[in-house]
Structures are given as structure tokens and as C-alpha cells.
């Protein structure tokens, strides 16, 4: 609940739409791929070192982790195709014989499939999420705040948390 409140606050704050979009995109990659992988450590570094919105990352991570269960068969199949593609065998063989390559577990079909899918989707998600943040702020933020439901929510615990974050 606190996390959701933070995310809402970020949406309604002056935080850059790029920061929120990048958070969502990194959340997409970590959410879709198996968690205990080397590339996720790199993403963690990027997330913390650069000014990327952590709340949006965490919300996106939760959402895409759930989605990953549905997409696993497709991603495994994609990984299988990529890893067995004839033209890429030399690359994979060289990578397989390196310590970093082995640590990355790239030759796991689900890891490769989910990484390829999330990387392919990330530019689209990045631009789409930035666009949606902007659209929300321009068109919906004022309208939403006037809704009776939102006003009721403002009296709720969620809103109290939301408010406390500002302090």
C-alpha cells in the first residue's frame, strides 16, 4: 500500500516522466526475467546510481512478475529459437566459454527468451509509459482529483500515507 502510495505521489509530483518511464522499463526487465541472474544486478546498479524512480520500478516489477507466469511458455520457446539459431552459434559458443557468460546463465532458454522479449519491448514500454505519465498529468490528474471516489479515498488510510510521504 505504501509502495502504491509512493508511485501515485511520483505520478502527481514534479518527478520527470523519463524517470518514471525508466523505472517502469527496468521493472519490466527484472519482472519478466528470472530474478537471480547477473543482468539483474546490473539493473539494480543502474536503478540506484541514476535518478530513476524506484517506486515505479517496484510497481512495474510486481506487475510484470505476475505477467511472466503467463508468458513463460512463449519466452521459453523464443529462447530456444534464439539459442539454437545457426548464425549465432559462434557467438554463443564464445560466450559459453567465458566465466561471465556462464555466470549470466544466458544459455538457459527462459533467461534468454525473457531477456530478449523484455529488451525488445523496453523501448516501446519506455516511450509508452512516458507518454501515459504526461497524458495523466495533463488530462487526468485534475479530473481524477475531483472524482467522488478519489475524495472518499482522500479520507482513507492510503491518502494519509500519501500525505505523510510529503512530510
Amino acid at each position: 500500500m505504501r509502495l502504491l502510495a509512493k508511485f501515485l505521489k511520483a505520478l502527481n509530483s514534479e518527478a520527470s516522466p523519463w524517470q518514471i518511464a525508466l523505472g517502469i522499463t527496468l521493472g519490466l526487465i527484472v519482472g519478466l526475467t528470472p530474478l537471480m541472474r547477473l543482468h539483474n544486478l546490473v539493473i539494480l546498479f543502474l536503478l540506484l546510481f541514476f535518478r530513476i524512480n524506484i517506486a515505479s520500478f517496484l510497481v512495474a516489477f510486481g506487475f510484470f512478475s505476475g505477467l511472466a507466469y503467463l508468458l513463460d511458455p512463449v519466452m521459453i520457446s523464443l529462447g530456444e529459437s534464439v539459442l539454437t539459431a545457426g548464425s549465432l552459434q559462434d557467438l554463443w559458443t564464445a560466450w559459453y566459454n567465458s566465466s561471465v557468460g556462464r555466470l549470466s546463465q544466458f544459455n538457459h532458454t527462459l533467461t534468454m527468451g525473457s531477456l530478449v522479449l523484455s529488451l525488445l519491448a523496453s523501448p516501446l514500454v519506455l516511450l509508452a509509459s512516458r507518454y501515459l505519465v504526461l497524458q495523466y498529468r495533463q488530462r487526468l490528474m485534475v479530473w481524477v482529483s475531483k472524482l467522488k471516489l478519489v475524495q472518499a479515498l482522500k479520507a482513507s488510510r492510503l491518502y494519509q500515507i500519501y500525505e505523510s510521504l510529503g512530510n
Binding site: 539494480l44 546498479f45 536503478l47 540506484l48 546510481f49 541514476f50 535518478r51 513463460d72 521459453i76 529462447g79 530456444e80 539459442l83 539454437t84 552459434q89 554463443w92 559458443t93 559459453y96 566459454n97 566465466s99 556462464r102 555466470l103 546463465q105 544459455n107 538457459h108 532458454t109 527462459l110 533467461t111 527468451g113
Partner: protein, 583 residues
């Protein structure tokens, strides 16, 4: 710069890394312990416990203490106990998911050590049949007819073989006999020959015609001689074969009697396999120690290999690529394993322990050698094994001398109980395994024996008396069957000795049955012997006839037409003299 970079975030990242490293180091020993207990437990098929774990980071090494592998067949005992196991680990291959241990040492290894509490069994082993010595009471013994009906008799076989042998030659000899010149023909030859020799020829033309007829007769005689010789040869061959069959037929009832009398006076299995019944279980246990490499290590390695494959196919799969430096997933370069046995320490050396010999290209090799100790004079065994796609391939030979045997129960249940009080064991042999199929031979010499034995009926009391007097025993052992179901069969002259003792001490009722058995076996053979003896006589008669006819023909062939010519020449000379000298 500060607009894009969050230095506090970098600090957080480093803090997270440090925290992860701290957690890793803090719980590393626990994780290793759990990993070994779960992994080895799965390979062992029963609970594995590790007492303590310690490690060093530079160089990377791990030490495990008090490792207990529950025996799946007896969860109250440990199949294997290792007091201390330590080895270095190569870091770089570890990053590539390969456990390479250049050197490993294990000390305080003990078999069958008791556990504090029963261990869990994950894979229930198949139950081994109990080897009881069940000697029946006299009243339980089968009847003669029953035994004769159920037993594959050598007498019946000899009767059948003799019949087949005669039948095989009979047709050929009969056909040959039909084509031979009969008595009439021979007499005709003789008359024609006499006629030619005694006729006075008046002119040269008649003489030439007679000579031509004589030569035709000679040719016919030579042809008949050939047929007779062939016939005689066939008869001689048939006679020799039949005589051999008759010898076997005469001996068969006695052989059957020797084999079947055990059934009448006791249990055949018990008599024939008393060595197996008495020492089979102990030899099985000894062989498990001797072949520990295959009974303990190879199955564990094989199961480890199987588990690796199974785990990797759960969610997605790891696609393998060609390795520039192919290394197996597990490799222990050198290992020194010290085994504690009855207060003595035995050290064995191992090279290249792995689960993937095909990839390594070398077999796992091991050797154990120990000289004089209070419990043995010398122990030596060497071997190798290779776990490949086609199963286990292995070789081992051993030579053990002067092993002092402690008191142990040989037969604890059944109608005969027996214990080994003391003794000395010498053994040597070889074992090979190809595609999990065992093949081996060995000898086990037991000397300075002191056996205690007790029977519970008349027959087992007799056996017990014999066993108590036994001072030495030479056992021949054959190993065959499959690796997970080995079959060790033992035989010795004890089986024969005990059979003799029982035969000499049979009861009156059993004696009568033995007499009946002997009579019935002889009766079966006698009928066939009568037939075959008359067949043999027939062959002998044919042989005599053939020899007689051959003599006649030989004589006829020896007669020369030259005599006739000489006579004619003499006559011409006489005529010429008369004309010249005017007589």
C-alpha cells in the same frame, strides 16, 4: 551531473552488495551443509548428515566433518561414516558451474557405523531374500517316484542318446549292406574264376576272350571290395559310438543315484549349496566392502549425474555448447581416503573421480595396499571404473592374505545355526563389469577354522557335527548378474563331504528309499542296455561278415590269370620241342 546521478544510490548499491556478501559468508557454511545433505542424500537414497562445515576463501577450500550416510537397507546404521573430508576447489571452473577439486582427503571412513537415531530413507531398496538353511524332517522327504518324475535324469538322457546314435548309423549301414555282394554273388565270382583258371584254351582267340572276362571279373571284385571296405568302416564307427554310449548308459544310473540320494535323505539345495548357505551372506558383505567402489561410489555418482539432468529440465533448459576446455561437472583429481577397520587404518588412493568419464576421457582409478598388521598379512586391490552412456565399465583385482576373522554368526535362523568362532582368510580374484553386467572369479581359502554349529533335527545335527570338525575350507566363488542385483555363487568340497556324511548316516526308511531309487534307475537303464547290446551284437556280426567277405574277395583278387597263360605257354613250348627234337 547531480541531475542524473544519485551518489547516495551508489552507496546504497555498495551497501546492498556488502550486505549480500556478508549474508553469503555468514551462511555459507550452513548452505554448504544443506547442499551436501540434500545432494548427497538424494544420491545416497537416504538421509545424509553433516556435523560441521568450515571453509577458507584463499585458497578456496571446504572441510566437512562427521558425515553420516544412512544405509537405506538398515536406517539404524550408517552405510558410510567419514570423520573428516577436506579439499580445495578451483574458483574459475566453479563460476562455470563445475566443481573441480584438485586434491581431496578423507579420513576416519567407517562402514556400518551405528547412528544415534534412524535416518530417513528416500528410495526404498529391494529386499534381499533371507538365506535360511531349511533342512526338512524325514517325514517331509519326497518319494522315489516323485523325485524320478521331477528330476532331469542322466539315465533317461543316456538311453535317448544311445537310441539316437544307433538310429543315426542304422539307416546308412542298412543301405550300404543292401548294395554289398551277397554269398551267392561271391560264390558265382568264385565259380567263374575257377572256370577261367581251369579251362584249357585251344587257340589264342579263346585265350584273349578269357583274359578279357578275367579282367572284367577283377574290376567287379575291386568295386565290391571298395563297397565292403566302406561298409566295414561305417560299422566300425557305429560300433565305437554305440560302445561309448553303452558305457555312459551303464554309468548313468549310478550318477543319477549320487545326485538324487541327497533329495531322498535331505534337501538337495541344502546339500548342493551348503557352502552358499553357510558363507553366502558373509561373502556378500565382504564383497560389498571389497567392491565398495562400485557398490557405494559408482551408484552415488551415477545418481548425481541423473539428478543433474533432471533438475536442469524443470523450467526451461540449459542449452549446452561446445567447450574449448571440456571439463566434467564434477572432478576430483586426486583423493586419499583413509578407512578405519577394526582399529586399523587402510589408505586408498584415487585418481579422476568424476561422473562424466566420456568427457574426461579417462577412467577413475583406485588402489589400496596395506602390509602387515595384527589383523592381516597383506591386502592389495587395484581397479578402475568408467561411467559411460552404456552403463558402468570396470575392472578390479584383489589379493588378500592372512586376514584374521573375528567371531560372527553365519546362520542365525533356520534348522541349522552356525557361528564362525575364529579363522583366517586368504582370497584372490578378478572382477570385471561391462554394461552393468558382472563377471568375476575368485578363491577364498579359510584356514584355522573353528566353527560352532547346532542342528534341530537328525539331519541338521549330522551337518552340525561335520561343520564343528571343519578346520579348513577352499571356496570357489563366481560373481555374475547385474550391478544392482549381483549374484555370488560359492562352491567347495564341503558340499560333497556333507553329502557323503548324510548318505552314510541315513535312516532305515531312507535306506529303503535309496535301494528303491537304485533299482528303478537300473531298471530304466537295463531295458535300453538290452536293446543296445543286441544292436551292438548286430553291428559286430556285420563287421565279421564284412571281414569274411573281404578276405574272400582279397583271395580272389590275388588269383592271377598269369597261371593260365603260363600253362598255355608251357604247352606251346612242349609242342615246339616235340617238333624240333622229333619226340
Amino acid at each position: 551531473m547531480g541531475r542524473f546521478i544519485r551518489f547516495s544510490g551508489l552507496a546504497t548499491f555498495l551497501l546492498i552488495l556488502a550486505g549480500l556478501a556478508a549474508i553469503f559468508l555468514l551462511f555459507l557454511n550452513t548452505w554448504i551443509k544443506l547442499a551436501v545433505e540434500i545432494g548427497a542424500g538424494s544420491a545416497n537414497g537416504a538421509e545424509v548428515n553433516v556435523g560441521q562445515v568450515s571453509h577458507t576463501l584463499s585458497p578456496l577450500s571446504v572441510t566437512l566433518e562427521q558425515i553420516q550416510l544412512t544405509d537405506p537397507t538398515n536406517p539404524d546404521q550408517n552405510r558410510l561414516f567419514i570423520a573428516r573430508l577436506s579439499g580445495g576447489i578451483d574458483l574459475l571452473p566453479l563460476l562455470m558451474d563445475k566443481l573441480i577439486i584438485p586434491e581431496l582427503s578423507a579420513s576416519g571412513i567407517r562402514f556400518d557405523a551405528p547412528r544415534d537415531s534412524a535416518g530417513d530413507v528416500y528410495a526404498k531398496p529391494t529386499e534381499r531374500m533371507k538365506n535360511l538353511f531349511q533342512m526338512p524332517e524325514d517325514s517331509e522327504l519326497p518319494g522315489v517316484e516323485e523325485i524320478l518324475a521331477k528330476s532331469p535324469l542322466k539315465t533317461d538322457k543316456a538311453v535317448e542318446q544311445a537310441r539316437e546314435t544307433y538310429a543315426r548309423y542304422q539307416q546308412q549301414i542298412s543301405e550300404q549292406y543292401q548294395s554289398l555282394p551277397g554269398e551267392e554273388t561271391l560264390n558265382d565270382y568264385k565259380q567263374r574264376l575257377d572256370s577261367l583258371q581251369n579251362t584249357e584254351f585251344k587257340d589264342a582267340a579263346a585265350l584273349a576272350k578269357a583274359r578279357e572276362e578275367f579282367e572284367q571279373l577283377q574290376a567287379q571284385l575291386r568295386e565290391d571290395k571298395g563297397a565292403l571296405k566302406q561298409f566295414k568302416g561305417s560299422v566300425e564307427e557305429a560300433r565305437a559310438a554305440l560302445e561309448q554310449q553303452i558305457i555312459q548308459l551303464k554309468a548313468a544310473p549310478q550318477r543319477d543315484y549320487d545326485l538324487l540320494k541327497g533329495l531322498l535323505v535331505g534337501d538337495a539345495a541344502a546339500l548342493g549349496e551348503v557352502t552358499q548357505a553357510l558363507f553366502g551372506e558373509k561373502v556378500r558383505i565382504w564383497s560389498e566392502r571389497l567392491f565398495a567402489a562400485y557398490h557405494v561410489m559408482a551408484p552415488m555418482l551415477a545418481r548425481t549425474q541423473q539428478n543433474q539432468t533432471e533438475q536442469r529440465r524443470s523450467e526451461g533448459r540449459f542449452v549446452p555448447f561446445a567447450e574449448t576446455r571440456p571439463l566434467p561437472s564434477l572432478l576430483i583429481g586426486k583423493a586419499e581416503l583413509s578407512l578405519d577397520w577394526q582399529g586399523q587404518t587402510l589408505s586408498s588412493q584415487w585418481q579422476d573421480i568424476t561422473t562424466e568419464h566420456d568427457k574426461l576421457g579417462r577412467a577413475t582409478r583406485f588402489s589400496l595396499s596395506s602390509q602387515s598388521s595384527p589383523l592381516w598379512q597383506s591386502l592389495s586391490t587395484t581397479g578402475d571404473f568408467w561411467l559411460g552412456k552404456e552403463g558402468l565399465k570396470a575392472n578390479q583385482d584383489w589379493e588378500l592374505t592372512g586376514i584374521q576373522l573375528a567371531q560372527q554368526t553365519l546362520l542365525g535362523e533356520g534348522k541349522l545355526t552356525s557361528s564362525l568362532e575364529r579363522g583366517q582368510l586368504d582370497s584372490a580374484g578378478t572382477l570385471s563389469i561391462e554394461r552393468n553386467q558382472l563377471s568375476g572369479q575368485g578363491r577364498i581359502n579359510l584356514s584355522q577354522l573353528e566353527l560352532s554349529a547346532k542342528g534341530s533335527n537328525r539331519l541338521t545335527n549330522l551337518l552340525a557335527d561335520t561343520l564343528r570338525k571343519l578346520q579348513e575350507l577352499k571356496i570357489e566363488a563366481d560373481v555374475d548378474g547385474l550391478l544392482d542385483a549381483p549374484n555370488v555363487s560359492l562352491r567347495s568340497d564341503l558340499d560333497r563331504k556333507l553329502g557323503k556324511v548324510l548318505a552314510e548316516n541315513v535312516s532305515g526308511e531312507a535306506k529303503a528309499r535309496l535301494e528303491e531309487l537304485s533299482q528303478k534307475l537300473n531298471a530304466r537303464a537295463d531295458k535300453a542296455l538290452g536293446t543296445q547290446n543286441s544292436n551292438l551284437q548286430q553291428l559286430i556280426n556285420w563287421q565279421k561278415v564284412a571281414e569274411g567277405n573281404l578276405d574272400s574277395i582279397e583271395q580272389m583278387l590275388n588269383s592271377q590269370f598269369k597261371n593260365v597263360l603260363d600253362r598255355q605257354k608251357d604247352k606251346l613250348k612242349d609242342k615246339l620241342k616235340d617238333k624240333v627234337f622229333g619226340n
